[in-house]
Subunit: 350 residues, 4 copies
């Protein structure tokens, strides 16, 4: 049985991932580290997860005999730890943004200097449904952001078909998405009964979505697509995604509403076929016939997808609904670990 | 003091409007009718409003001596009552959709046959900030839908300047927007902790927004604008609005997030100037420097507006935040009544 | 593998219990009946539960080869179906109140005529922790009400020790406790941001708690206990429980706060010992050192219990926190089925 | 017009009180101080209140020409500022606990050393309905805690009649009651969907309730009452109140559920008469015929009271529902200021 370590378990997503690994029938969780709450059992910090292991400080020299690691540090802080783990031949799922972007230039534009650019070549983008094969053998899996997960699953069939000329993504998320942060953003008296847009024209998930859409579209297709409309500010052939996030008053749940100006007219039947082809065999994507609610996927690894052609405007509307802490982060990390260690993809997730 | 009657007070918006009239220093509320809860004091049905008047059946012949009326019936049911009131020379604010659209053809495409097309000419669209002068003398004021209110206030400065080539409006609303409807849409166990898109590609507020934007753009401008991009499915010169509504788990509050593909590049300074020019003198539009939360306008007649240019995509993003029951419906009705009867616009609303 | 049928799956608790049986590794769910939503897959009615079976009408003659049944009908409607199932030798967990009270007289005072008093002798009260042995061999298990579950687990150690002279139970519950009922009690706009007491001095869970406490106290003890204080209105020796329920704005979760006037002074150490003795070995009762929150037991079969002696008043305060739909109803039904069919008590519940 | 200063405006209750004074027609708000957020307009810190005044540091020497002050500091920190204001002949409503208790001994047992015991004689307990006359002429009004406000209004008619032998008060409050505190107690992801008891057997509002009940009962009555039952731990004649608070997931709202063991049997008609006599003329107490919900009093100065006799147990159950920030704190402060300055009691509160 592979032995797993968890690094940075005190955030919401970290604690959930530790919980999922702890109850996983085919991984042995052997270490849980954090930078605060040291010595406390995780189940004391997060009573709803019943993980009795205590939070230890990270001491790399003690990490003998670990096969798998999940790293839940902030960007820039994650890469050095991932590097140290790689030196010990540990295969890593990294929850930060450090290895999500293939383009170092893009990373540095949005995040600043990269601490370990030498490792970029070892990393695979961990949206399971898009990169299943590479994930299976990857040394580093860069677990996607929650918004890219919902958005890309909603858009992938259109992107692959070269149909996206322009796209607006309006995303809504529960307050757990703000993390274990204590301020007016998360206080029930100011966050409850509220709807708040944030990071206007500046969300760092934007380049992640753009890079993956470009990959799906293929460069030739992308050029043709973007020539016709939309991305005025971009270079020729470059799709610029309008991404906007909002906090809404619930705990867990995320909806990406995607509005696509298509490169050509798309009929309802063709649209349906594109999505059925893409997702009929996927264990964790549920193609639904009605607009989904996020409650339907709460505390699951499922993404519910619904797409419709709007005859009035000619646009295509696609929705992706996930639990931001589960498929958006922690359970997708487990899905990836399953693949990396030759286990059934659904193990420990149903 | 003008004497006012309220017709259809048992819905959420109706009850609030009756409450606002009841406490209004310059109107005398003389009748409250409804089709259910007959004989019950309104404050028994809606304990949070302290209106002691009892709900009566509507008997038109008894409506002597009424100067002003608010009608809160469903579309198609409203127009005949509005007609009967007009025969008695009562000036009416109608909360339904019956008189919102100038184009009979558009009305019939979205709503079916119009019961009183002969009255359309007497009606003025009641978004106060856009039609203040006509409202002051109107016989019938068609109070706008809540989504058009938030959307149009966010977009009007851009529309007037002829800058809208294409627009996506993603709107989120609290559960009161679903009304006094009792089903899974509104049950706390299914609506709480949920985010649900509804009426995909089919929301009846769409034509209302489109017609008003077209008016603001002027037909010439509109033609030029729409020629360049976007509205593939529309006739030349016609702006087709992509409007999508979502329910999120709060009571009152509504956010319209508007993503505008502009007809030309718009710098931040110009954008700021457009909005300041439009709203600096408005008593109920608050132009803010940060993305607003709907809690900031809860139980007020204010609309908070924020607009930003996205350098990355070249688009303009504009937000309109209102309380769907207040500025979205009931307090805007009072704002209009104030104008119609020569009172200060803010009377009874602060 | 025992074959199970589920009768009355369209309510909240029914649907959850069907879901738990569907995913249970050691029961085969062979029939799901309901009185509405006929022919619809359960997962369409309750998207968050992924049970593909369709809801059938109840046809008793088709119930061949069923070993176990869960009946989720309203009181009085349940007993005849339980009777019909017993004639076919099916062992039943009944979620209604029909078989919870040993005293027919008490039943009839609170509920009216009993449809099948002849079956009362076959029934065992299904609070697992109190009646484990009888449940294992019972023909009919009367699954407790949710309030009695939380209250009795909080109070049992005190009752067994004969320490309860008088008790006030103030219970708070999420809106799912009101069930799949659609009215102002459950509408998010009226139930959200609200706290509402209901059934003042009239809740039918009262006699259930009283009868079980009396059993725990033993009649002799009970007499002594009640003689000193409290139950003025009762006959000598009878403990009258002051039980009051409140709805608070969440989905699932229930807290019973119990205030006990003791028959004698109880020190903190003795109190601790009583509770440790009672619950140290219980797989689903978690004795905690801080007042528990209901979120800690959400979507689990756990009951968290905390008790403290108040030196200022001399009273003992005991809290029981459960998920009203899980331990309060559906997962406790599965816990009982496990016992009845010789399976590990925790099977399918972790 | 009296000139008012506000000291300590950055907490929830402080900001609301400043807002109420700002919009009050008969007070001129001339200073708003705080210890954080210095120089920021209050409406920037609290966007939902539209108070343009900036938060200044407290400089006592600048407090010339102020007639009235509201002090919103923590206990022990408030008294010295109240003292400094008294030296300048300012009449003060103090929101802290410093002047609520008549007994210095009780204060010191629950709060520690009192910084200005010399001022206790100048202070009047500010539960308006109980001490209206003394408040009108008081130099210092000690605004009550929110829990005592709801509890005492629910219990006062019984206390005055000498009917309380023993009482359990179970209180539930929205998260605003925890204040502008940022931790897991208030984070929407941990406070939402939760019910949490806190300060078990240790809430500092207990002595405040006890002292006021004792006053209402009169010492003779109190002796007789307590002799019969209940307060084992207390000295003879002393009523010990069992008070327990809970946080429930809403913003503003508070319910005190009071369970009274009476000194003698009380029939429904007598009970009704006691409450009607007490409250028929009160402008801000609404005696209701059904158990009230806190939403009915949200953002008002009303307290809704409902009382019932339970024939089953012989106890009396009384509920008091308030908005913890309004009648529980800030609007009651304004109600008191109105009295102190000879204004109509309801001015600025409707």
């Amino acid at each position: 049985m592979p032995r797993a370590g968890f690094f940075g378990a005190t955030g919401f997503a970290g604690a959930l991932a530790a919980h999922l690994l702890w109850r996983h029938p085919d991984f042995e969780l052997v270490a849980v580290t954090g930078r605060s709450e040291l010595g406390r059992p995780l189940q004391e910090v997060y009573p709803r997860y019943r993980v009795p292991m205590s939070i230890e400080p990270l001491e790399l020299e003690r990490l003998q005999g670990i096969d798998a690691a999940v790293v839940a540090y902030p960007h820039a802080a994650a890469a050095p730890t991932v590097g140290a783990l790689r030196e010990r031949d540990v295969r890593v799922v990294d929850l930060s943004a450090d290895f999500r972007l293939r383009s170092l230039e893009t990373y540095e534009r949005w995040y600043g200097e990269h601490p370990r650019p030498d490792l970029l070549g070892e990393a695979v983008y961990g949206l399971t449904e898009l990169h299943r094969q590479e994930i299976a053998t990857a040394a580093i899996v860069a677990n996607p952001g929650c918004y890219p997960t919902a958005s890309l699953l909603a858009l992938a069939p259109l992107a692959r078909a070269g149909l996206i000329a322009d796209v607006v993504i309006d995303a809504k998320q529960g307050i757990s998405g703000a993390g274990r942060v204590f301020d007016e953003t998360t206080h029930l008296s100011t966050a409850g009964e509220n709807i708040v847009p944030y990071k206007v024209a500046a969300h760092r998930h934007t380049p992640e979505i753009e890079e993956q859409l470009a990959l799906l579209m293929g460069s030739a297709t992308a050029t043709a697509a973007a020539a016709g409309a939309g991305a005025r500010a971009g270079a020729p052939g470059e799709l610029r995604v309008q991404f906007q996030a909002h906090l809404v008053p619930l705990d867990q749940g995320e909806m990406a509403s995607c509005y696509v100006t298509t490169t050509r007219s798309v009929a309802a039947a063709e649209l349906r076929e594109l999505y059925v082809d893409a997702y009929a065999e996927e264990p964790f994507v549920e193609l639904v016939g009605e607009p989904p609610g996020v409650l339907e996927v709460r505390e699951t690894n499922y993404c519910r997808v619904f797409a419709a052609a709007d005859e009035h405007t000619g646009k295509v509307i696609a929705f992706g609904a996930i639990d931001n802490l589960w498929k958006g982060t922690s359970s997708q990390a487990v899905q990836n670990l399953n693949l990396m260690f030759g286990l059934p993809e659904t193990e420990g997730l149903q």
